[in-house]
């Protein structure tokens, strides 16, 4: 709930708007806006969830244990953590996973995108556009919304089914390992899975049309969008790191161009571009579905591209509220990509590529539902982790979220507290932040009018 902070200074015209617990985001955080004479003095996105120390937990563990430990970082996007871990460690030990095992990993990632994106589109983000407090309120108010949410749950369940089959279970999967999988599915199991995906394919198409029909605030910002780009595929596990401002680097060069830093008011590190990416917002950049789609819309099949054209939106798009449409296009893509992989699946000769531990370091980036996820590991000769670095997408979007809030802050100065808080929360929900990953709810605090 928003809180009004009484201010003793009646001359200086100060106001603090505080969103005490940000709703409909994954995790706990708060937001403070300080205004003086209607001008914004400061925006602080505070993440007060306790630090989680995963990088420290990993030190001293064998590299084989890493995917099972990192899968515990998030209940919504565990596959992303497993994928970045595995690829970074495979780079380190000098193996490459190809053929059907590579396809199965991509299929697993499709499952996570379907599940995570569908949850955000319908259960967290949709109430913002339709004027409801929650998805429950939507469903209680209108039968057509209840039907929409029922269908959304079926779509999400199809994503869960992919993760359950390939990951061993729907939450914190246990079947992924460095070099491949512990067990691979039979062709028959995948054909059954394909039937479940076919059943939700049309609803995924409808989701794109529905998302595009929402009313969006008419705003555009000059973002630097950052995402992976692959030679032929829509990026998930591989590619170069690119941006709309000319960044084009190998993923291992990430630390040369990006830096993590601490802010005193938050338990999560933030990440920024070393060389100022945006002139409008120095250091800030955007990752996630809108960035990915804007940079890679030419990498999807004609059917998905046609769906994007039919939205009537000009791509690339710089309206942050339209991230919901990019997210829906990625769901459609993930369903079609999953069906393509299933149709071509041949049982692999082996479930894992063998390897020998060695001393060294390896880094990799994969595309988590919320954007690029960087992992880097160092091991000794016996494969014991000596150092681990994990930079989740929400840490990378935090500075951009603050910059977006700065832009709307002057307009909040004279709004009632509850309305100011809602407008600020909407800005943040465009990013589908997973605050749990980054270190949970938002408090908005605006100081000074």
């Amino acid at each position: 709930m928003p809180e009004q902070t009484p201010h003793p200074d009646s001359v200086a015209q100060k106001r603090t708007i505080q969103v005490g617990a940000l709703a409909r985001v994954e995790g706990e955080g708060s937001l403070t806006l300080r205004l003086r004479d209607g001008q914004v003095e400061e925006v602080q996105l505070r993440i007060f969830e306790a630090p989680r120390y995963f990088e420290a937990f990993l030190r001293g563990r064998h590299l084989e244990e890493v995917p099972d430990i990192t899968a515990r970082i998030c209940g919504i996007c565990p596959v992303a953590y497993q994928m970045s871990s595995c690829h970074a460690l495979e780079r380190l030990v000098g193996i490459e996973v190809s053929g059907p095992l590579r396809d199965l990993r991509r299929l697993l990632y499709c499952g996570e995108w379907i599940e995570s994106h569908t949850l955000h589109i319908y259960f967290l983000h949709a109430p913002d556009f339709l004027g409801y407090e929650s998805a429950l309120a939507m469903a209680q108010d209108r039968p057509e919304y209840a039907k929409l949410l029922r269908n959304a749950l079926q779509l999400k369940k199809a994503g869960n089914a992919v993760i359950s089959l390939l990951g061993g279970r729907a939450i914190h999967p246990i079947n992924v390992r460095v070099g491949g999988f512990y067990q691979v599915p039979s062709r028959k199991e995948l054909i059954q899975l394909g039937e479940q995906l076919k059943a939700v394919h049309e609803f995924a198409r409808q989701t794109v049309r529905w998302a595009a029909s929402l009313d969006f605030p008419p705003v555009e910002h000059d973002y630097e969008f950052v995402a992976l780009r692959h030679q032929t595929e829509y990026p998930m596990n591989e590619g170069r790191l690119v941006s709309n401002r000319g960044l084009d680097i190998a993923m291992s060069a990430f630390p040369d161009h990006f830096e993590e830093y601490q802010v005193p008011y938050s338990n999560a590190s933030q990440c920024r571009r070393k060389a100022s990416g945006g002139q409008e917002s120095p250091g800030a950049y955007q990752v996630g579905p809108l960035a990915r789609w804007n940079l890679n819309w030419d990498r999807v099949p004609a059917s998905v591209r046609q769906a994007a054209v039919e939205t009537g939106i000009t791509w690339p798009c710089r309206n942050p509220y339209m991230s919901i449409v990019a997210r829906s296009l990625e769901v459609l893509y993930a369903v079609e990509e999953a069906l393509r992989i299933i149709a071509g699946y041949e049982l692999p000769d082996r479930s894992v590529v063998p390897y020998q531990p060695r001393a060294g370091h390896g880094a990799w980036i994969t595309e988590a539902p919320r954007g690029i996820l960087y992992h880097r590991y160092e091991t000794d000769a016996s494969g014991i982790i000596r150092q681990a670095t994990i930079i989740p997408p929400t840490s990378q979007n935090q500075l951009q979220m603050e910059q977006d809030l700065l832009r709307i802050a002057p307009g909040l100065a004279n709004l009632p507290e509850a309305e100011a808080a809602l407008q600020a929360e909407k800005v943040i929900r465009n990013y589908d932040p997973c605050i749990s990953c980054a270190t949970h709810f938002l408090k908005l605090r605006v100081e000074g009018r």
Binding site: R24, E26, G27, I76, L119, F123, A135, L149, L153
Partner: protein
């Protein structure tokens, strides 16, 4: 009147501390009903996962830890809906609590017609390893009560 089929028994909770009591109850019930295809046992780590297993038919038996209220280990039984169960507004899907998930499922027409909730009052919901002595002592009794109801109301024979 006997319970409608299919019968699903779902334990809700995390694997930590007393919140893990439902995991233990499900494990013991699974052992007891091994090979019985008339009943499905599941564990759901929170309300969001609970939504995934609701299909709007049959009977749902839900097992959960109850917030400490001075009687650790006390066993309670509720029929849904129930005025004593507080539905908290979910802040996120990470935090969708079982009661809120049941309310959403009911609104969406996905709630089984019969929902029975069994709970054990936790001594503490702090993160730690293993159940507290009071809760650990209550688990076998809850398993016995559920097995008994499965037999009398679900027409499912209990082999033990």
């Amino acid at each position: 009147m006997s319970w409608p089929r299919p019968i699903r028994v779902v334990g809700v909770g995390s694997p930590q501390g007393d919140d893990a009591l439902a995991w233990e109850v499900i494990r013991m019930l699974q052992q007891r009903h091994k090979g019985d295809n008339d009943i499905e046992f599941r564990v759901a780590e929170g309300g969001q996962r609970l939504l995934d297993v609701l299909e709007g038919e049959g009977t749902l038996l839900l097992i959960d830890a109850l917030v400490p209220a001075g009687s650790p280990g006390a066993i309670r039984r509720f029929e849904w809906p129930n005025e004593w169960i507080e539905v908290l507004r979910p802040g996120s899907t990470h935090h969708l609590r079982p009661a809120a998930a049941l309310q959403l499922a009911a609104t969406l027409g996905m709630l089984p017609p019969r929902v029975v909730i069994f709970g054990i009052e936790a001594a503490s919901l702090d993160l730690r390893q293993g159940l507290s002595p009071a809760v650990a002592a209550a688990v076998p009794e809850l398993v016995r009560r559920i097995a008994s109801e499965l037999q009398t109301k679900g027409n499912i024979e209990s082999p033990l």
